[in-house]
């Protein structure tokens, strides 16, 4: 799992603390966390493509949340940057080799593939249970003001 996952999770949390209508540029966010600006910009695009963020181009432009913070889950962000596909991929190994099963016996999906899919679904469900609003609720009340202040001074 790429390092940029952590970047985007934190960037989204930061954007959620901004006033509505305000945007933060990729350069600002990069400076805020000391990250390579060009590469961060590339990853932010993935979140725009997925519909979690909205981007405004031109001077005074930048990124903002495309939806209320309560409607953006951690799963949305993680799947946008890391891909939504399950890491486990069943290649129907049971139909190959000397022990191959007949096509009739394979009408229902393999038990092992099913269990692996269940585990992946449990992982997804756990991440989908937390929204950006939930994350903000755990922060001290002074955090948003502080974030806005430190962000304003950036280039």
């Amino acid at each position: 799992m790429p390092v940029s996952t952590e970047w985007l999770l934190h960037c989204a949390t930061t954007l959620a603390q901004l006033d509505p209508g305000t945007t933060a540029s990729a350069a600002q966010l990069a400076q805020y966390y000391d990250l390579p600006a060009a590469y961060l910009a590339k990853q932010l695009q993935a979140l725009v493509r997925s519909g979690a963020l909205a981007a405004t181009t031109g001077p005074r432009g930048g990124f903002r949340l495309a939806r209320p913070a309560s409607e953006i889950t951690l799963l949305d962000i993680v799947e946008a940057v890391d891909g939504a596909a399950s890491p486990y991929e069943c290649r129907e190994i049971r139909q190959q080799g000397r022990g191959a099963l007949s096509p009739e016996e394979c009408r229902n999906t393999c038990v092992l593939a099913e269990k692996m899919a269940d585990a992946h679904e449990a992982w997804r469900r756990s991440l989908a249970a937390t929204s950006l609003a939930d994350v903000l609720a755990t922060l001290p009340p002074s955090a948003p003001e502080r974030t806005r202040r430190r962000m304003a001074g950036a280039t």
Copy 2:
């Protein structure tokens, strides 16, 4: 996630269907599923190292379950081949850059890292809930006999 994960899950299920005391060599298992024998052998070693399988060297040697099938979970197998580390790695990004938090504010772990760890734990819990014995229970009663028969004819 490597393709070999599926291989090992099925190989372990196959071994669980053998009579106690009987072993199956890597070549036999490879032929049974039409897999590259050399690579499969290497992955089987990982399961031996983890303690899920036991190996006997020499003629008539091979692999067998090291424990009763009810004591081997899918998580044991997956973590043996794919590693037990969480795919998400927190690099403490919150302490870097212009928005860096003070060390005092970072005494407790970051909320985002905690949520990601929770999701990973949910995934683990789901896989640990199923043992090889549970998998065998879903198979038709004729399956073990059939597996033993087809395995016997291999080189």
